[in-house]
């Protein structure tokens, strides 16, 4: 078996028995529970689109390990073309789902761990890379969806992992056995965790020698004993269970679906351990993962923005404001902001480079610029969408009242815009815009792939202010004047 369809993906999830809790309930099947269906649908599209002729060029790739055609989400980048295609794939998926499709996190994790394990082995004589390649072959052949679990809960942010009063506030090794390790702790905000086949767990920050037990990287199946998932709430999440029109994005929801993953003395066999105490490589792994993930945001978020701009334009037409010059100007600004983000992601991909393992990564400085711009531009795009939409975005009557035999006729009459378009069209666009701009979705643009300050720290590290100063000194005739080499 190699590439799965969306249907086969759903069936593969049914065979697993992960421990999942949501709203005080233990969930028996994420595939069938209405709270999870939109997230499963979005992930399933990463499977179906890889097999669709119009998208396969972006969503599939040739494995460097086997030469087989594989889903790009299981592929290790081996060229600039691979890096660019990842961004284009994300935009295409964003346009189709209007939501997060979750699978990029594990993809970025696989790529990061692939290159770093190679370098650990080169220096330390370990065999982590061989183990990772073995897992990768399985991931590719079974077309598995892997979550990338990096963010620890962190407790007191002033303290390092080993200084925390509760040692479990960062995931750590509690026991080393002949056959593997035992880990405890928790990872927060893990996208797609409940509908993945397994988790690739990585350290969250640079580590020092005293934090060596926290420098741990491993893979666990989603239903491994001692792995507990607590699914997070989202804005208007109960609408997924008791509404249709009021959901806005009916099939795919508003975000990826994030969970807190608890590791309660979880056993991990050595074959699935990819770092265990090599603390000096933790920062490199974090930076490579962060770079890969921040590269994405001018891809997926621009796909969402395309749908958002379309909804805003459509609503302006329905409300009869689309020809007003200030509305057109604001729509143009939304496009300008969107394409600026896309430029960033394409640029950091084109400026990417090869690593010692032979795989490729995006340019870290430009990837961080990309994500930092997303924390601003997506908010501005959403602000403009709300500006154009009007206050009805926050006051529209419910689907239930629209269907009510007593008052439905009033909702239908007074929610109408231009005469030849039914009120239902306007209400559907309003709900779609509400979901995309009024809650959890925006926070995802702020903190997903790391908060803005994390990007600023990495930008400062790579800014090379001294070189810029030398350029200024040359122009201003200060000090030694280097000549061109002829």
């Amino acid at each position: 078996m190699s590439m799965m369809t969306g249907k086969e993906y759903r069936e593969s999830l049914r065979k697993l028995k992960p421990e999942i809790y949501y709203m005080g309930e233990k969930i028996e099947s994420v595939v069938d529970h209405l709270a999870f269906v939109p997230h499963v649908n979005a992930a399933a599209l990463t499977y179906d689109m890889a097999l669709a002729p119009e998208f396969e060029e972006l969503l599939s790739a040739t494995s460097h390990l086997t030469g087989e055609k594989v889903n790009r989400y299981t592929h290790i980048h081996h060229s600039h073309d691979d890096l660019v295609k990842k961004v284009k794939m994300l935009r295409a998926l964003g346009q189709q789902t209007g939501s997060c499709f979750q699978r990029c996190v594990g993809h970025d994790g696989l790529n990061s761990v692939y290159s770093v394990t190679y370098e650990i082995d080169q220096k330390m004589g370990t065999d982590y890379h061989k183990r990772l390649v073995s897992l990768l072959k399985e991931v590719q052949s079974k077309d598995l969806m892997i979550s990338g679990a990096m963010t620890d809960v962190k407790g007191d942010r002033r303290l390092s992992p080993s200084q925390q009063k509760d040692p479990d506030l960062y995931v750590h090794v509690v026991e080393k056995r002949e056959d593997g390790i035992v880990v405890s702790g928790a990872k927060a905000h893990i996208t797609g965790a409940v509908n993945s086949h397994g988790h690739l767990v990585m350290p969250t920050a640079a580590m020092k020698a005293e934090d060596a037990d926290y420098a741990v990287c491993f893979y666990v199946p989603v239903d491994a004993p001692g792995v507990i998932h607590i699914f997070g709430r989202q804005t208007n999440d109960t609408r997924k269970c008791n509404c249709f029109l009021d959901q806005g994005n009916v099939d795919y929801g508003i975000v990826g679906g994030e969970a807190l993953i608890v590791f309660d003395k979880t056993f991990v066999p050595w074959e699935h351990v990819f770092m265990c105490g090599e603390y000096e490589f933790a920062y490199e792994l974090v930076e490579r993962f962060a770079t890969a993930h921040r590269q994405n945001y001018g891809g997926c978020k621009t796909g969402l923005a395309d749908a958002l701009i379309g909804a805003t334009y459509g609503l302006a037409q329905v409300q009869g404001t689309d020809r007003a010059s200030h509305i057109r100007d604001k729509l143009v600004e939304m496009v300008h902001l969107t394409e600026t983000l896309y430029c960033c992601s394409i640029a950091c991909s084109c400026q990417g480079y090869a690593l010692p393992a032979g795989s490729y990564m995006a340019d870290p400085l430009l990837a961080n610029i990309t994500k930092l711009n997303v924390t601003r531009h997506i908010y501005e795009i959403a602000r403009l969408a709300q500006d154009i939409s009007g206050g009805v975005l926050a006051t529209a009557p419910s689907e239930a009242d629209w269907k009510d035999p007593q008052v439905g006729k009033y909702v239908d009459k007074y929610m109408k815009g231009v005469a030849d378009v039914p009120a239902e069209t306007r209400m559907r666009l309003i709900r779609l815009l509400e979901g995309m701009t009024c809650g959890t979705a925006l926070v995802e643009s702020m903190h997903g792939a790391g908060s803005p300050q994390a990007q600023r720290i990495m930008i400062e590290r790579r800014a090379n202010f001294e070189r810029k100063k030398r350029l200024a000194e040359k122009l201003a005739k200060i000090g030694e004047q280097p000549l061109l080499v002829c």
Partner: protein
């Protein structure tokens, strides 16, 4: 036969220097000084025949100058790509001497 004709030919090839993370000209000046001191190699344009080593000087890891057609112009190649030499991390302050050492290995190696 002139003195220069007995010297090993070494060429420098720049990436284009759009936004270099490191000062590539410092490396070039250092190699020019080393060539004068040692006297066993000379810096020549890459267009010449029988180039033994091409030192590809790229300002960042993107390594735009590291192309097959460039490497094919010489028997051996060295690649500086930002703060790295042949894929090995080297701080900028040590880059010139690291390139000199690597080049020296090539020049003294048995044919």
């Amino acid at each position: 036969m002139s003195e220069d004709s007995r010297k090993v030919k070494v060429s420098l090839k720049y990436c284009g220097s759009c936004n270099p993370y490191v000062d590539l000209t410092r490396i070039a000046r250092h190699l020019a000084a080393v060539a004068r001191e040692r006297g066993d190699f000379q810096l020549v344009p890459l267009s010449e025949d029988d180039v033994e080593v091409v030192v590809i000087l790229c300002g960042c890891p993107r390594a735009c100058g590291n192309k097959e057609e460039v490497r094919a112009r010489a028997r051996q190649s060295l690649v500086v790509a930002g703060e790295s030499l042949d894929g090995r991390a080297v701080p900028e302050a040590l880059l010139s001497s690291a390139v000199e050492q690597e080049l020296s290995k090539y020049l003294t190696a048995e044919p």
